[in-house]
């Protein structure tokens, strides 16, 4: 197990290096530059623009810039944002809690819906419940989050005036009032993200359970005279969850990405909106850092998924 982990981690290093090199090159060659706002400003003489480019190292060859970035990164220096001139790691750390809160809660919500609905639907295939659940799940993941987000805003913020649609990271309140405000503003984005995820998880849980339900050991358990409830929970669900857990782990990085749109609609100051702002401002160090973090997440969650798989199903060995 330990050697397997070590081997996987060692393999991760060259792949991350490769990813970072590709990201860096693509970004360096992408059109646009961080000083575009200056171009239309007659107060900024061309010399200043040139001096800034030089001091930010934009005129050096891409390889030199990449190696400089890499060596700084290895020493824990993530560079600074061209737009706000503060350190990139500070910027990212400011955003992480909000993203984790919104994405994390929406994942929990999604699982809370998907597990019971999926299992119940699978144990009664083609029943009315199953068909309704299937249809709703289908509708759910066909509707993009930017659409459902706007729909909720129009309904709950503008028509009914129940919830605010601008998410604020600092709420001028304390104690219970703070929790209440935090909850109120998070309801809509969490619902949007949670329902979207729930829809696809439901279908997955349903088919995973259906696969297991026909296996011999389930029949054996039933033949032993165990109650339906025990069979479903102890025997079916536990085994069906193995692929589901893997799926959830592998989905995590994608969820961070999927939250980008939702974050933009509700003005949630998370990682996703940071990435969008940075892209619009051509703020290369921030784009680089955020996308690299995403890449690391993908590698990390792949590893976690593999480990979980082995742990849940002892037949898989790490030899």
């Amino acid at each position: 197990m330990a050697t397997y982990l070590l081997r996987r981690l060692l393999i991760a290093i060259p792949s991350l290096l490769g990813i970072s090199l590709i990201l860096f090159t693509v970004l360096a060659m992408a059109p646009g530059d961080p000083f575009s706002e200056m171009a239309t400003n007659p107060n900024v003489p061309p010399e200043v623009r040139e001096a800034l480019r030089a001091s930010f190292g934009l005129n050096d060859p891409i390889m030199v810039r990449y190696l400089r970035w890499l060596s700084a990164m290895v020493q824990g220096d993530w560079g600074f944002s061209f737009a706000s001139r503060i350190n990139v790691d500070t910027l990212i750390l400011q955003r992480v809690p909000t993203t984790l809160f919104v994405v994390g809660t929406s994942q929990i919500l999604a699982l809370c819906i998907a597990l019971p609905v999926g299992i119940y639907a699978a144990t009664r295939p083609y029943s009315v419940f199953d068909q309704i659940a299937n249809t709703l799940a289908f509708v759910g993941f066909s509707l993009p989050t930017f659409f459902t987000g706007l729909l909720l805003i129009l309904l709950f913020s503008i028509k009914l005036d129940w919830f605010p649609f601008v998410y604020r990271s600092d709420i001028a309140a304390s104690g219970w009032r703070w929790y209440w405000e935090m909850f109120r503003q998070a309801i809509m984005p969490i619902t949007v993200l949670g329902l979207f995820q729930a829809a696809s998880y439901t279908r997955y849980v349903r088919s995973a359970v259906l696969d297991v339900i026909r296996l011999d050991y389930v029949t054996t358990a039933r033949a032993k005279g165990l109650g339906e409830k025990t069979v479903t929970l102890r025997h079916i669900t536990r085994n069906a969850l193995i692929p589901v857990v893997t799926l959830v782990a592998l989905q995590m990085p994608a969820v961070f990405g999927g939250a980008i749109v939702t974050e933009q609609i509700f003005r949630i100051p998370g990682i996703g909106s940071l990435l969008i702002d940075a892209i619009l401002a051509n703020d290369t160090p921030v784009i680089m850092a955020v996308t690299f973090v995403f890449a690391c997440l993908v590698v990390l969650f792949n590893l976690i998924a593999d480990l979980l798989y082995g742990w849940l199903d002892p037949r898989i060995s790490f030899g």
């Binding site: 706002e37 171009a39 900024v44 200043v48 737009a83 605010p164 990271s169 933009q264 100051p269 702002d277």
Partner: protein, 595 residues
């Protein structure tokens, strides 16, 4: 407007026969912006008018929170690094310049005790020295007194090229001397008619020497005060998350009596213009939203709820079209649209004239921009004294057809006109932005009726407005026949703005397309008038010269102005605010209040 008439008007204001407002409006009618108008008056010793917003509250504080929503979030707070309006708006809450510009273009003292005039000895006869008297008893947020040293330091800071301040253009060619603790002298190398640039408005915010002194030049990025500003402004810094939210609390020692009204201020960023308007006009979650580049129809629908209102103030921003007189499709010495080439058809003044007649400016204003702009034929529109009265626009398809017929452009089998095998087919580019694409469509339709074929092209704004040398789609490269965008006139005085009509500013390969003259068109008469205006101290003569530069380009139909843009903001009904097209929206945030 000729010089003689201007003089008469100025005399009228002096005698009291003409009101300031009337004067400024008269000048506006001829294309002179309000700030320029008021500079003309100041030069002639007519005192500046007082701030236009009547402030009602009788004590400071008690107004609760003020919530401002910017759909582009502020990312830094040092006003001298501010690359965009969003940062300038945020910085101005904490820092102040010596004087700001109100919406009529009047110079309004902020940290200065008074506006310099010739009468009070503030302006020297030779036009080279401006003496500013500073307000006494002003304290920085940390309690230290504000003095002339801070003003001198701000000049040293911004002028140092290593600091890489975005405001540096206003400080490099001057000298600033301290006379006493509350007086500074700004010395220009040459007679400078537009002296109200350093220490004024957006570029003029004064930094505390005791916080930035060690961080001048190359160390400028490291100053802790870049992110935790200590200024003299109406609100003190509380918290800042770049790209997200900025908060401040009332400055109890603010130097204006009974101000500010609000106890806290909050600037939230992010999202888009439409939903920002919605958060103010429909839900009232926020008190104020800026820069609403949204179709007026949409705004009007949101306003019907009665929760909020729209206000639009004139600015010097101009939406305009450039007709390329050089050939964008032939490469000479590694450069397209080189001045060594001539456009096969657009170099013909008749074609350009016909094209201008095909722009239905009134419809564009009515159906697309609404309160967001006013149709115009002049490049400079504000302050009014710099607007040309001579320039007129017309939409007339028949006339355009006749001109093209007479010039020998015959319709081919496909309905497109041609002459000597050269077809009137053009690529017309602009940035991606809903009103612009609609404008393109309106013009394309009219052109079809006159046998001109337009291929519409739209480039994403972050590429179009970048100075990326490697990209062929930037607006400064102009590698197409026709392009359209808005250019911002940062100061009320259009001198620096009009340098885009001079021959030495032509964007080309040598200057990496950083030159400001994107049209590449030049005329010795315009160069001459521009140079003369730079030295002309008499405001009337100077305005006339600058108007001439404008007219040369517009009459040649190389520059086709469309709309003089207004700055549109939304606010909740009971918020009394005062935003200006010549300064940032928060220039006078101390005087905002809730009625």
């Amino acid at each position: 407007m000729d010089e003689h008439k201007l003089r008469e008007l100025v005399a009228g204001v002096k005698d009291g026969a003409v009101s300031r407002r009337a004067f400024i409006q008269r000048l506006a009618a001829v294309g002179i912006t309000a700030p320029i108008a008021s500079q003309i008056l100041a030069w002639n010793d007519v005192a500046m008018a007082q701030a236009s917003l009547a402030y009602k509250p009788t004590k400071a504080g008690g107004g609760g929170p003020l919530k401002i929503l910017l759909w582009q979030a502020p990312t830094l707070l040092n006003p001298h690094f501010a690359s965009g309006t969003k940062d300038q708006i945020a910085g101005r809450i904490f820092f102040e310049p010596l004087a700001g510009w109100d919406k009529e273009g009047n110079l309004t003292p902020q940290l200065a005790a008074e506006v310099p005039t010739r009468a009070n000895g503030g302006l020297s006869e030779d036009g080279k020295v401006v003496t500013w008297k500073l307000k006494q008893g002003v304290k920085w947020h940390d309690g230290k007194p504000f003095t002339a040293d801070d003003v001198v330091f701000t000049w040293e800071y911004a002028a140092d090229p290593a600091t890489a301040a975005y405001t540096t253009g206003s400080y490099t060619n001057i000298k600033v001397e301290k006379v006493d603790d509350h007086t500074v002298k700004v010395i220009f190398k040459e007679a400078t008619p537009f002296w109200a640039d350093p220490f004024v408005g957006v570029v003029g915010q004064i930094l505390p020497k005791h916080h930035f002194g060690e961080y001048k030049g190359a160390k400028s990025r490291e100053a802790p005060a870049n992110l935790k500003p200590v200024g003299t402004g109406p609100y003190k810094f509380a918290d800042f998350k770049p790209g997200d939210i900025l908060t401040g609390t009332r400055n109890e020692d603010y130097h204006v009596k009974n101000q500010p009204h609000f106890d806290t201020i909050e600037v939230k960023g992010g999202g888009d213009a439409v939903s920002a308007a919605r958060a103010v006009l429909q839900t009232g979650e926020f008190d104020y939203a800026w820069n609403l580049q949204v179709e007026d129809e949409v705004l009007k629908r949101m306003e019907t709820g009665g929760r909020g209102k729209i206000s639009a103030v004139p600015s010097g921003d101009i939406e305009f079209i450039i007709l390329n007189t050089t050939d964008p499709w032939t490469e000479v010495d590694g450069e397209r649209s080189s001045i060594k080439t001539k456009h096969p058809t657009l170099s013909d003044p008749k074609v350009r004239q016909a094209f201008n007649l095909l722009i239905d400016r009134d419809s564009i204003q009515k159906f697309i921009y609404g309160r967001g702009g006013t149709a115009t034929a002049s490049f400079v529109n504000e302050p009014k004294q710099f607007r040309s009265q001579k320039l007129k626009y017309e939409f007339n398809v028949d006339k355009a057809n006749k001109i093209l017929d007479d010039a020998g452009y015959k319709r081919g089998a496909d309905g497109i006109r041609e002459k000597d095998g050269k077809k009137l087919k053009y690529v017309y580019q602009t940035s991606i932005n809903a009103p612009r694409q609609k404008t393109q469509a309106i013009i394309k339709q009219a052109c079809q009726k006159a046998g001109i074929d337009l291929e519409l092209k739209s480039v994403t704004a972050s590429v179009f407005f970048s100075s990326d040398v490697a990209n062929p789609d930037t607006y400064t490269k102009l590698y197409v026949d026709i392009e359209m965008y808005t250019t911002t006139q940062p100061q009320p005085d259009p001198e620096r703005f009009l340098n885009q009509f001079t021959s030495w500013e032509i964007a080309n390969k040598e200057n990496k397309w950083l030159g400001r003259n994107v049209s590449r068109y030049s005329d010795p008469a315009a160069d001459e008038a521009y140079k003369a205006a730079q030295k002309e101290l008499d405001p009337a003569k100077r305005a006339a010269l600058l108007i001439k530069v404008d007219e040369i380009f517009c009459e040649a139909n190389v520059i086709l102005p469309l709309l003089s843009r207004t700055r549109v903001a939304a606010s909740v009904t009971n918020l009394m605010h005062d935003h200006s097209g010549w300064d940032v929206d928060t220039w006078n945030v101390a005087a905002w209040y809730r009625s």
